[in-house]
Symmetry: C2
């Protein structure tokens, strides 16, 4: 407090930076922890211990475990969107395929977290559900960029297609169905083209 | 107790019947309540009051609110399967269309319950999730009965298609997308045919 008072104008910016940087590091740590384990399996005690800070300090950055989790889900969503958006050149269909490959690769590398997010009760929390819905919409828009999607029913078909991709991916990640990622990707492409065509025709 | 002891063989059967009948009536009441309201919105107190029994007696039939809810979800699943299985005659594609019509009609009439079941945290409870998964599989098997579904990848595509139908239906029930039920149904049929064909080709 004494130090802060002695330099009132310079300190707040530096302090804020520290806070942001610490939050960023905590989120990175959380991404790492939650990539292999489900929300309920990781306790605040364990998170604090892994971060090398007290539980009290962790609560200072994130008032609740859910706040922390929401920040992590947002970060994970950004990672996924960043990865699936890498292929910006080429034909729409080639970019769609590249995006789907990245998607399958990314969720495969974060199997537990992705499965838990889409299946767990936390996923039904309004805030988490909001992030998931926004991510779905952004991912879908990115994947179909450049593909003609005119017709009132087409957004319905696109939402359905995301449901198709998610349901299939969850089964595949569970190991309940064996399929090579490129075979799954081609199934997704076929169904997308068909769903858009059908919806456009029936709009 | 005295009456029970005086007729030891006759009483248990009658008592059991009463218990089954009371459970059945409670489930019917629950189906009614949960058809328009979500799990978290209905308290045990309210359920007991609506049933005209004490909370203690309700707990006698269903030890927890979740047990009660699971019984209701099972009953709802049976209703849905019974409705969608009514069309047993005719061509496979005609039966598929009739089944999808029944499905859309049924979930439309139980909008809140269906939406809450597939979205809420309760849906992620292992027991409820088990009932939902079994119902999905049974519904899907019934809908595609008689349609050729050979190929290792076809079950994956069918699971994906259920995801397509559910995602689309949830948006439609939310009122976020306007579409006539028969247009939705035809979209479902188109996507199913395409998904099965693609999966069979790529198996």
């Amino acid at each position: 407090m004494a130090a802060r008072r002695s330099a009132p104008r310079a300190e707040p910016a530096r302090l804020r930076l520290d806070v942001d940087e610490r939050r960023r590091r905590l989120v990175a740590l959380g991404l790492d922890l939650f990539s292999s384990r489900a929300y309920d399996d990781v306790s605040i005690d364990e998170l604090a211990e892994a971060a090398g800070i007290s539980k009290g300090l962790l609560y200072h950055y994130f008032p609740t475990k859910k706040d922390f989790y929401v920040a992590i889900v947002r970060a994970a969503a950004e990672q996924l969107l960043e990865r699936t958006g890498r292929a910006t050149a080429g034909e729409p269909m080639a970019r769609l395929r590249a995006g789907l490959d990245e998607y399958l690769h990314h969720v495969g590398a974060h199997r537990r977290a992705y499965t838990a997010l889409l299946r767990s009760g936390v996923g039904s929390d309004a805030e988490v559900a909001g992030v998931v819905d926004e991510t779905r919409a952004a991912l879908c828009a990115r994947l179909v960029e450049g593909i003609p999607t005119r017709g009132a029913l087409v957004p319905v078909a696109l939402r359905g297609w995301i449901g198709f991709v998610e349901a299939t991916t969850l089964e595949w990640l569970d190991g309940r169905r064996e399929a090579a990622p490129d075979v799954l990707r081609e199934l997704f492409v076929d169904v997308l083209v068909c769903a858009i065509e059908s919806a456009a025709r029936r709009s």
